[in-house]
Amino acid sequence: MQCMEPGGANNLAQLRRGVLVFCVLAILRKDERYGFDLVRALGQVDGLVTTEGTIYPLLARLRRTGLVDTVWRESEAGPPRRYYRLTDQGQRALTVWLEDWTRFRNGVDRLVGAAHD
């Protein structure tokens, strides 16, 4: 396994890529969102989204793999909007990931914390 250079810009990019999918699913768990609205919500986490446009290929993949689906809804301003919703399969994927993530995060925190002390 190749080790990453500490402090490299690549570090964050690698972490972000793995986490981003589940942040999308987590946002959609609460309610359905249209594209721009979803991107705006993701933008609240610093460093999570660097190029907003790349969210759309990700959403397309989630839709193709059945983790989200889409529905068109009338909007009060402008043309109908395409809303993304979490599917049952997406809900299950999110639940599994949350357990994995919590275990992983706690392990890393303990290790880094112990090394830091």
Partner: protein, 220 residues
């Protein structure tokens, strides 16, 4: 957008660039991407405080260069069929395609056409793979039987053709036989038969394995 503002023009140019860069994607995927990014820009501009060209350019900067978005789409394509949670089996419709292509010809030939439709509407094979799957061979293994019914080496016999004008009966006693069509030596015919039966099955197995390979996550 009833009148073309500078902002409209900048957005239109950006979307054109995106569409051009997305040329590497399948048409449906490309249109979906351009439509989504276009809708994003509409919403972003509507909710922005101002709509001057500086604001529009900032929105485009945040979206990123079209090439980068397309590169992400291509990368997603590679992992597209590897859901984070779920089975790694070939989807049912793809399985049906790999069964119907070699064997559907036996279902009154219609099954093969169904296989071709499933093959070409699937996202899990490249165009090259689809062409091979279609051309080796039309109607699959049944092609061997179809070929067998064609006049390979047929002998047509008839009488000489002298007809008695009064009775209308053929009076010639001479029987003329002629061979038509092509003929293959026995061993070559057997080889062709075996190839035609098994090549579609081999191609189908290959398509299954390629689709699986396509599904494997790309190591990063």
């Amino acid at each position: 957008m009833t009148e073309g503002t500078v902002g409209d023009q900048i957005v239109a140019e950006y979307l054109d660039q995106l569409r051009a860069a997305a040329d590497v994607l399948p048409a449906a995927r490309r249109e979906e991407l351009v439509a989504e990014v276009g809708a994003h820009l509409q919403d972003a501009r509507r909710e922005a405080l101002r709509d001057d060209d500086g604001t529009v350019r900032t929105l485009l900067d945040r979206l990123g260069p079209p090439q980068e978005i397309v590169a992400a789409a291509v990368a997603e394509d590679r992992t597209a069929t590897t859901p984070p949670v779920g089975s790694r089996r070939l989807p049912g419709r793809d399985q049906a395609a790999t069964l119907l292509l070699p064997l559907g010809g036996f279902l009154f030939l219609v099954g093969w056409f169904a296989g071709v439709i499933l093959l070409w509407t699937s996202e899990h094979w490249t165009t090259r793979q689809k062409v091979i799957g279609t051309l080796v061979f039309p109607f699959g293994s049944a092609s061997a039987l179809i070929l067998g019914t064609l006049p390979g080496r047929s002998t047509v016999c008839g009488s000489g053709g002298e007809i008695d004008v009064e009775t209308g009966r053929n009076v010639s006693t001479e029987v003329v036989c002629s061979s038509q069509g092509f003929s293959l030596p026995g061993w070559l015919g057997a080889v062709v038969f075996v190839v035609m039966v098994f090549a579609p099955i081999a191609v189908s197995i290959w398509l299954s394995s390629r689709a699986h390979a396509y599904r494997r996550p790309v190591p990063s």
